[in-house]
């Protein structure tokens, strides 16, 4: 192969794009079993795989502070085995077919899933049912897992990033809102949890009513349906849906919290407030607003704090919508000596964007970016199953992801600006800094943002 037939190349400007190929979210076949379990099947034949996910209305948000961490512990305790299979035998059987149980517990749901080669689906489904429907929650396994959870809490407290996330949640939300605490609970709450609590939680919350069973992969729909009916059709139980969450802030106005970690070479910074619930009508305009602010590499925050100032390896902003209003926040890790300057710069970017709004060009780029990367995150059975699970958890229309890109493309510059202004109140921001108090408190006070409270780290 030589370059002799190659014509001279004009490199001065980017090449024209080719013709666009359409992308469709795989169609979701939806039907409900008699016990209320909502079956959602999407066929994907790119790889000989199948992902099965049971999506249950069993999140942490329904729990009071004193039993915080119970949903997480109960989910993990599924690996403890059943009457028929010990925990070890269950692990052996799952890994023997090249799979493993994945349990993800969030504020709003518990999702128990596994992925295996498609020709091992029946065995996988049977093991999933064994683990979830006939779990025996052995005392000694609960004891072990509780001890592991407590060790994880300790690890979070020593990790500056996790510590800052947890401190920020507690500083933003009032104590009456479950979101003020760490998702996995506190040392105090987890120490109080045991086998009886886990069993009771599973009985009340791991039920088919309000739950979904998601199957994505290289399977025949009729076969998938009949397997789910065989293994999960007899699943009984009816839980009461948890109540709605009202989110109130811890304080009015701007406040600064410094959590002292003496000798830190960097500060972990969080700037945030209460944001949006998943049901917000501003979902799409806020996606665009956030992409311009700090949700992409070429966002205003990145271009200023990383590419202009070199203050940080990375800075981002995000909304974390939940059933109730989840947090909005900017996060970054910056050197101790520039902490206050970086906070000032981040606030200037946020205030500037709220004040003058994004430019037409920025909004166009953000639309193209978000609409363009959408199919990039739908290559695997697990990714598609996660999107369908989201539909289930938040009661979104079945075609939510089929129309997603059209919705994104429909966001105007003014609607993105208005959505940002309607959601973020710059006069009500909390600033949380986990770092060396001696090095950061003075300069933060000089910024005059509001009262600066200093507490010791754990």
């Amino acid at each position: 192969m030589t370059g002799r037939d190659v014509s001279p190349v004009d490199r001065s400007s980017p090449p024209e794009s080719g013709s666009v190929r359409s992308f469709d979210f795989p169609p979701i076949l939806s039907s409900d079993l008699a016990n209320g379990l909502g079956l959602r099947i999407a066929r994907m034949t790119r790889a000989p795989l199948v992902t099965m996910a049971v999506v249950m209305d069993a999140g942490e948000a329904a729990l009071p502070d004193r039993s915080a961490g119970l949903a997480v512990l109960t989910g993990e305790a599924l690996e403890g085995g059943s009457e028929k299979l010990s925990g070890l035998e269950l692990a052996d059987a799952l890994e023997g077919i090249g799979s493993g149980l994945s349990v993800r517990t969030g504020w709003d749901a518990t999702i128990v899933s596994l992925t295996c080669l498609a020709d091992r689906m029946e065995e996988g489904m049977s093991l999933l049912a064994e683990a979830l429907l006939r779990s025996s929650f052995p005392e000694e396994e609960i004891d072990r897992l509780r001890r592991q959870r407590l060790a994880v809490i300790r690890q979070r407290q020593m990790d500056p990033g996790s510590l800052a996330d947890d401190a920020a949640a507690d500083f933003i939300y009032s104590e009456s809102v479950p979101y003020h605490r760490p998702l996995g609970g506190t040392q105090e709450s987890v120490e109080s949890l045991g086998r009886e609590e886990a069993r009771a939680f599973a009985e009340e919350r791991f039920t088919p009513s309000g739950a979904g069973f998601v199957v994505v992969g290289d399977v025949e729909v009729s076969e998938a349906r009949s397997l789910v009916e065989t293994h999960f059709g007899g699943w009984a139980g009816k839980g009461t849906p948890p109540g709605a969450i009202t989110a109130t802030p811890r304080f009015e106005g701007r406040r600064v919290l410094v959590m002292d970690r003496p000798g830190s070479v960097q500060s972990e910074v969080r700037i945030g407030q209460i944001g949006i619930s998943r049901a917000t009508p501003l979902f799409f305009p806020l996606k665009i607003f956030n992409a311009v602010l700090g949700g992409a590499f070429t966002s205003r925050l990145m271009l200023n704090l990383r590419e202009k100032q070199g203050f940080t390896y990375g800075v981002r902003s995000r909304f974390s919508p939940r059933k109730g209003p989840g947090p909005f926040g900017i996060s970054m890790a910056v050197a101790t000596e520039v902490t206050a300057t970086a906070v000032r710069e981040a606030l200037t970017e946020l205030e500037g964007l709220l004040e003058a709004g994004p430019t037409e060009g920025e909004v166009e780029r953000a639309r193209d970016y978000i609409a363009g990367v959408f199919p990039l995150a739908l290559e695997t059975t697990g990714q598609v199953a996660a999107r369908i699970s989201e539909i289930q958890v938040y009661g979104l229309p079945l075609d939510f992801f089929s129309t997603y890109r059209d919705e994104i493309r429909g966001v105007s510059t003014s609607s993105a600006h208005e959505a940002g202004r309607a959601t973020i109140n710059p006069a009500e921001l909390a600033v949380i800094v986990v770092g060396d108090a001696e090095g950061v408190v003075g300069p933060l006070e000089e910024l005059g943002l509001g009262p600066v409270e200093v507490v010791s780290g754990p």
Partner: protein, 437 residues
């Protein structure tokens, strides 16, 4: 499942080409989704760094995003994001990779961007950009190494496992001092030496027409001149296949839980025996039915978590790593003893355990290659390391071919007391630099 059955699980198509300037090309078409991955591996990594310039390969990777002759600063990111693509790069011991995944109608954009910086990066370099990225990388080091519990384990472990004159002795991130010492002359020299088409492999995976894609690659890359042969690695690569004893380091500091790391030399990626090491690692520490998880976490309950990971490396040896995280009051001697008991017991490995390793490998590989980005990266890896991207398709068979006898022999040769580097972290007051322990 039957370990003897013939596998046809991996059927990734591979079409190879080579430009006259030495650039190796792999095309792997899959039109099932309208996206394409463009992936470039340069055969340069931290192993190529000279003394006083540790971390330079990685700093240079950052500079590759600072523009080129026809691409102003920030424009690279803007163009790819606006096209609806994602992009990144990473630096490792043996290589530096650059990659984009985009909607397939923007393939040409990625080729234009990659070729512009492969051919014409230097005209865009300035002192200001270098200083900006030195700041970014110093913050990256602080965030990921210095302000993170156990963050510097790899730096310490590499120094224990590889002698001081070996190219793997120092970390990829490098020292603060060396990051700060880099000059524009270093950038130019490194670029001219290593960022040449004869030191690169380019892989496309996903939705494209192979004929059209090849013509585009030729158009953008063929006028980039071939470089000189790549200079030999600095330092001494002639080391023993094992460490030669037990080396130990203890770090008291800002960590939540005691943790013992054990590192050892095992066959390098391209050597006979690499897959045996891979299977042994899975038997010992892959998954919750593995020996270490079963014994240390579930039965003895001395550990909160365990991990076994095989770093596939090209020079002299690969690094097999174990870690055992204890509970707050764990005695590190207990953790070490429990770990060694399992390593010593590998001779009792069973057929069922090999079956499990094969099954886990199968699912892992099939899951990984669902994403065109991962698929392209694996093909580049096999191209750069073996001059054979299609080797990917035989990976399950290579794992399946590993025998009980080989695993036992591996245990005897590599898991003994002549091949152990222990690094132990204990919670406690941080030791000031210069203070005796």
């Amino acid at each position: 499942m039957n370990r003897e059955e013939e596998g046809t699980l991996l059927n990734v198509p591979v079409e190879r080409h080579r430009l006259s300037n030495g650039l190796r090309i792999t095309l792997s078409m899959d039109r099932s989704v309208p996206i394409v991955a463009v992936n470039l591996w340069y055969g340069v990594g931290s192993r190529n760094e000279r003394p006083g310039r540790t971390g330079f390969a990685h700093l240079f990777e950052h500079m590759m995003f600072q523009g080129s002759a026809n691409v102003p600063k920030n424009r690279h990111f803007e163009l790819v994001e606006q096209a609806g693509g994602t992009l990144n790069a990473s630096t490792w011991f043996d290589r530096t990779n650059y990659y984009e995944t985009l909607p397939s109608h923007h393939l040409e954009l990625a080729l234009w961007l990659e070729s512009d910086r492969m051919g014409w990066m230097l005209p865009a370099m300035t002192q200001e950009k270098l200083e900006n990225q030195q700041g970014v990388v110093k913050n990256e080091r602080k965030e990921r190494y210095d302000n993170q519990p156990y963050g510097d384990w790899d730096e310490r472990m590499q120094a224990l496992v590889f002698p001081s004159d070996h190219p793997y002795h120092h970390s990829v991130i490098g020292s603060m001092e060396d990051i700060g010492a880099a000059t524009l002359e270093d950038v130019a020299e490194f670029f001219q030496t290593f960022y040449v088409p004869n030191n690169a492999v380019l892989t496309l995976a996903g939705d494209f027409d192979p004929g059209h894609a090849l013509r585009s690659i030729e158009r953008y890359f063929s006028e980039i001149p071939q470089g000189a042969p790549i200079p030999p690695l600095p330092g001494n690569q002639q080391i023993s296949s094992v460490i030669g004893g037990v080396v130990e380091e203890e770090v008291v500091g800002n960590v939540p839980l005691p943790r013992v790391y054990l590192g050892l030399r095992v066959p390098r990626l391209v050597a006979e025996g690499f897959h045996t090491a891979d299977v042994a690692a899975t038997v010992l520490g892959g998954g919750k039915a593995s020996r270490l998880h079963r014994s240390l976490v579930r039965e003895k309950r001395v550990a909160k978590d365990v991990l076994a990971y095989l770093f596939p490396l090209q020079t002299s040896a690969s690094l097999l790593l174990f870690w055992v995280t204890g509970y707050p009051d764990s005695d590190p001697d207990t953790l070490r003893a429990a770990l060694l008991e399992e390593l010593d017991g590998l001779e009792s490995v069973t057929d069922e355990e090999l079956d499990r390793a094969v099954a886990l490998t199968e699912t892992h590989l099939v899951r990984s290659i669902q994403q065109v980005g991962t698929r392209a990266d694996l093909l580049s890896m096999f191209d750069q390391s073996f001059d054979d991207p299609g080797r990917l398709n035989g990976e399950v068979e290579r794992v399946r071919a590993v025998t009980l006898g080989q695993v036992r022999e591996f245990g005897e040769r590599f898991l003994g007391p002549d091949n152990r580097a222990f690094l132990t972290y204990l919670p406690g007051e941080v030791q000031e630099p210069g203070e005796d322990q």
